[in-house]
């Protein structure tokens, strides 16, 4: 049994990822209406809207909960809006869960959407010498792919990972994405395609780094009682949510910082930050890595997917390449990872991405994933990480 009561996922919906260039609200509304239809819930019966914010679409994006509520039609319901970079979607889901478990509401809509500019994500304008995110761009030109590449190089040096291993992640995920109508890229890539794409940050090539995308995703969640009363006899359930911060000292340098913590006096904890993010969700859900049917992990780069295998406990540190090469993480393997195609096939629509991961798990656990179905899926984990040390992980069961 888990440590925290469960809530039901009644419906999920998405707007296809792409570079559509339209208002983010449109994507969120489309995803919300699909999720409501899927749930069989009338919008006017939704008591609480939990919006995941975007910082790229002006003021309406900063107060996304009411922006989406107005677009769907104001009903006098309750609302929250939250921002936590890539962890925004999980934060929004966690607020909805808390409201339901506290008995404040019975049924809630969680929604996030984004419209992104072309190219690198960059800090906000201004001259801010007290902002680590600004400083890393000004002083080093350290874009996000620079950090992804630092971690890729560590794998090569510590574990003997090769550029071919990294490319294989992209090849695998692109094969999955061929069958996903919500993905931005449905093309199957081969190793030669990746090798022919330009290096962005050594050793990572363009096709191995996630693009920035437009997209929207939404989930309708409710209390278990509400689900039963409305004919959902065996819904997918949210069994664990983790929004874990690092434990001092976090000695692994990561976005957007210029320096890691210091372990000179206080020793580093037994679990690394990302391991601790997964552990919290496992503990809440009362399951372990061996119980997983599939996982959706944040492959901001191909190489980062391999780090996640170890951080969520699918294998020991240094064994991810072996697990990948064995085929275990492909659909049809023992523990498929990124059956959706992952960020490599979607690109990142920041506030929608963690919600989209849960949408995929929901379809998989219901057996509705079509040609990318993971047979007999019962337990799914999604994990990502917001900037500034903002962990994000969800476990769903059925």
């Amino acid at each position: 049994m888990g440590q925290v009561d469960e809530v039901a996922i009644l419906g999920v919906g998405m707007h296809q990822w792409g570079k559509w260039g339209r208002n983010f609200v449109e994507y969120g509304v489309k995803a919300s209406r699909d999720a409501l239809d899927d749930a069989g819930v009338n919008w006017r019966d939704v008591q609480f809207v939990s919006g995941a914010n975007t910082v790229r679409c002006g003021y309406p994006g900063y107060v996304s909960g009411s922006t989406f509520a107005k677009a769907l039609g104001f009903t006098g319901g309750q609302v929250a809006s939250s921002y936590a970079a890539c962890a925004s979607g999980t934060t929004a889901l966690s607020i909805a869960r808390a409201q339901i478990l506290a008995g404040v509401c019975d049924v809630a809509l969680v929604v996030g959407a984004d419209t992104t500019p072309k190219g690198f994500l960059a800090p906000q304008a201004g001259d801010r010498h007290d902002d680590p995110d600004w400083l890393r761009f000004r002083l080093f030109g350290a874009t996000n792919p620079v950090y992804f590449a630092l971690h890729a190089r560590r794998r090569m040096d510590l574990y003997g990972a090769t550029k071919e291993d990294f490319a294989m992640v992209k090849v695998k995920n692109s094969r999955h994405a061929v069958h996903n109508p919500n993905a931005r890229y449905n093309k199957e890539y081969g190793p030669a395609d990746i090798d022919n794409s330009p290096v962005v940050s050594d050793p990572l090539r363009l096709l191995e780094i996630c693009a920035t995308s437009d997209g929207g995703a939404a989930i309708v969640v409710s209390s278990m009682e509400y689900a039963r009363a409305h004919g959902h006899t065996d819904p997918v359930r949210v069994a664990g949510i983790s929004l874990t911060t690092p434990t001092y000292p976090d000695v692994i340098l990561d976005l957007p910082y210029m320096a890691s913590d210091s372990a000179a006096v206080t020793p580093a904890p037994d679990l690394t930050f990302k391991e601790s993010v997964a552990k919290r969700a496992y503990d809440e859900a009362g399951v372990g890595p061996g119980d997983l049917s599939l996982a959706e992990v944040y492959d901001l780069s191909s190489a980062l997917e391999l780090d996640w295998y170890e951080q969520i406990g699918l294998c020991k540190p240094g064994e991810a390449e072996q697990l990948l090469r064995s085929g275990a993480t492909s659909i049809g393997g023992r523990i498929p990872v990124n059956a959706s195609g992952g960020l490599g096939a979607f690109g990142e629509a920041v506030p929608a991405q963690a919600i989209a991961q849960v949408c995929e798990l929901t379809w998989q656990l219901r057996g509705q994933a079509g040609a990318r179905q993971v047979n007999g899926a019962k337990v799914g984990l999604s994990i990502n990480q917001g900037l500034f040390g903002h962990g994000s992980c969800v476990i769903v069961t059925r």
Partner: protein
């Protein structure tokens, strides 16, 4: 006439050309933070004044990469067309922490290896008609290249 050398951002490092150091904070229990005022806190340290200290200016490569495309603002490209910058994360033995920085001119990722010893020097980040805006850069100790 030589341009005036000024720090690209004040307060992060000393301007001693021959022996530059990063300016860090040190908690009452001895834990280090960089930058001094942005580096967080050690929750296991008693509260008290944060002492200003200079970090070791030698360390070993924890990892490294480069940026082949022009980074977006607030990065200011030094040259047109853009020349890729090499970036290193360096582990300081005494402080047991990892610090980022550009690598000196003339070194590529092919010249680097994790574990390699590097030292801190001052190098030009960008310039205008009157000033060189400098920042700390990492330079392989064995290498004869760099210094700009």
């Amino acid at each position: 006439m030589a341009k005036t050398r000024v720090p690209a951002v004040e307060g992060l490092f000393t301007m001693d050309e021959g022996d530059p150091h990063l300016i860090a904070g040190r908690a009452p229990n001895g834990s280090y933070f960089f930058p001094k005022d942005l580096g967080g806190s050690d929750p296991y340290s008693p509260l008290g004044p944060v002492e200003e200290v200079l970090l070791s200016n030698r360390g070993r490569l924890w990892s490294y990469t480069d940026s082949r495309y022009t980074p977006p603002p607030p990065f200011i490209p030094r040259t047109e067309p853009f020349v890729p910058v090499v970036i290193a994360a360096v582990e300081l033995a005494t402080e047991k922490m990892v610090v980022l920085g550009q690598v000196v001119d003339g070194v590529t990722t092919a010249d680097l290896k994790v574990g390699m010893e590097v030292e801190m020097v001052l190098g030009t980040l960008y310039e205008d008609d009157d000033h060189d805006y400098v920042v700390w850069k990492w330079k392989p100790v064995a290498s004869n290249s760099g210094g700009d």
